[in-house]
């Protein structure tokens, strides 16, 4: 569980996060949504400890980040996995080596233990037959799955994903979303996902935090996001063509 308490983050004169408080629960897929520039990535990077907030606190299962010693911070880091928007695979390494990397860096496992773990994780993301491919030889969807495998290989307690399905076709995007949700439940991870994809919101939005200009405008779940009368949220939800058409269709049916 991650508890965020009134965090503020500025770059120079411009305040990007203006006092956000919320709770991200374990075993759930938590979504951060909002328009481009609303501060989603900055928020996620603050949760990762890459940006230090000027004000407010973040606690990870009770451990308050700013109060940890450097060693404790490193330990906490090793419990976090991150899936980057562009996958960020190491392009000089094969897929299997990419997944093995965190194990080589942070564990004392021997070769066969590491290989076993890599096999398990790659199987989990349905990439049995791609071990020796280079990232450049893999499709976008495969690269995303490798990135997920790399993020979970060291059994993290916290998983962060920055727009995990941007640039993917809707079907593949759904596959990735479901994969992240299944993994979250299976391993009981606290997962936080940035997205502006309404499909993801519908599919896996167990908890949704809506950001607007660095402020938490609304929070809830995919069950009640369509019932809210918060105008900013409704505008965002119905900004996609598909939803406008669906809405129109329903209105026409009603008549």
């Amino acid at each position: 569980m991650i508890e965020v308490n009134d965090i503020h983050k500025s770059f120079g004169d411009s305040e990007i996060l203006k006092g956000i408080s919320t709770v991200f629960e374990k075993g759930k897929t938590n979504l951060i949504i909002g328009q481009s520039g609303s501060g989603k990535t900055v928020f996620l990077k603050t949760l990762l400890g890459l940006f230090i907030p000027e004000q407010g606190s973040i606690s990870y299962d009770g451990k308050i980040y700013s109060k940890l010693s450097p060693d404790q911070k490193s330990e906490l880091r090793a419990e976090m996995g991150m899936v980057f928007q562009g996958s960020a695979l190491f392009d000089s390494m094969t897929i299997a080596e990419n997944v093995k990397f965190p194990l080589r860096m942070f564990t004392k496992q021997n070769k066969s233990e590491m290989n076993d773990r890599v096999n398990i994780v790659l199987k989990r993301v349905n990439l049995d037959d791609a071990h020796n491919k280079l990232p450049s030889e893999a499709s976008g969807g495969m690269q995303k799955r490798v990135a997920i495998a790399r993020a979970i290989v060291n059994q993290p307690k916290y998983l962060f994903c920055d727009e995990p399905n941007s640039g993917l076709d809707p079907r593949t995007a759904t596959v990735i979303d479901n994969l992240i949700q299944e993994i979250t439940q299976e391993y009981d991870i606290t997962t936080v996902i940035n997205t502006h994809d309404m499909n993801s919101v519908m599919e896996i939005g167990e908890k949704i935090v809506f950001l607007k200009d660095g402020i938490k405008e609304w929070e809830g779940s995919n069950k009640n996001i369509f019932k809210t009368d918060n105008e900013a949220v409704t505008n965002f939800v119905y900004s996609s063509d598909l939803f406008q058409r669906v809405q129109k269709m329903y209105l026409e049916e009603d008549q």
Binding site: L48, L50, K73, S74, R77, A78, M80, M82, F84, Q85, G86, A88, L89, F90, D91, S92, P102, R104, M105, F106
Partner: protein, 246 residues
């Protein structure tokens, strides 16, 4: 102002190279890979250039010595001096600023734009140590490359003598043994180590701190080449002044 900022940031990076070292079992592989990429892969081009430029130095010297009173062995002597003092350490380093330097900048820069460096940092890895330290160690073998260049430059000169008939090979060999000052080797290798340091760190700096996309990677490589060469030329001047003129 931005120059000062760059210089400050450069020195902070240098400090960071030696902090929070990467696990040795991983680092070992990185070093071996960089030795292969930076040193082994440069042997061919360095040998080729050294051999032929050594030959040209000899031909030029021979053609300009028209006075019959000057002993023929002076051709070998002049070739040896210019190859050891300037051509091998400095000229080859400028070529390396293009070859090795742009390789370093573009490979680190690509990792920056594709968030691979962020991925390292998220895992709590000191990315500067991870990326730059192995290059720094690999380039400690750079004097080996320069020794090859010195040797082949002188051999190239000998070949030119032989095929061009400028002087006899015996005269040439007598020339390259004439008035040898051991400190000249020390001077050449001090320069080589300094240039190796510049070759490892300046291109890394331009790759690591670049912003933007693929287009900017190309621009960063060019800027890195310009500044690496400028610094090599500048340090060449300073070191020559310091070490040889007294």
């Amino acid at each position: 102002m931005s120059y000062l900022h760059n210089i400050g940031q450069y020195f902070l990076m240098i400090k960071q190279i030696f902090r929070k070292p990467t696990k040795w079992s991983v680092m070992r592989h990185l070093i071996l890979k960089d030795i292969d990429d930076l040193i082994i892969n440069s042997i061919g081009i360095v040998s080729f250039i050294a051999f032929f430029v050594g030959g040209v130095v000899t031909i030029q010297t021979a053609l300009n010595m028209t006075n019959p009173l000057i002993p023929k062995s002076l051709v070998g002597f002049a070739t040896r001096q210019s190859v050891i003092l300037e051509f091998a350490p400095t000229f080859i380093s400028i070529i390396m600023a293009g070859k090795v330097g742009s390789f370093i900048t573009s490979s680190i820069g690509t990792m920056r734009v594709t968030e691979q460096i962020d991925a390292l940092e998220v895992m709590g890895i000191n990315a500067i140590n991870y990326l730059v330290f192995p290059k720094f160690i690999a380039l400690m073998l750079y004097p080996f490359l320069i020794s090859i260049a010195m040797f082949l430059g002188i051999i190239g000169g000998m070949a030119a003598c032989f095929y061009g008939g400028f002087s006899s090979v015996d005269d040439y060999i007598a020339g390259i043994q004439m008035d040898f000052i051991p400190f000249h080797m020390v001077y050449a290798f001090i320069k080589t180590f300094v240039f190796a340091f510049l070759l490892a760190t300046i291109p890394s700096y331009y790759g690591y701190y670049m912003k933007g996309g693929a287009l900017e990677v190309g621009k960063a490589s060019t800027t890195s080449f310009v500044w690496t060469s400028v610094m090599i030329i500048l340090f060449n001047y300073i070191l020559t002044q310091m070490l040889l003129s007294s």
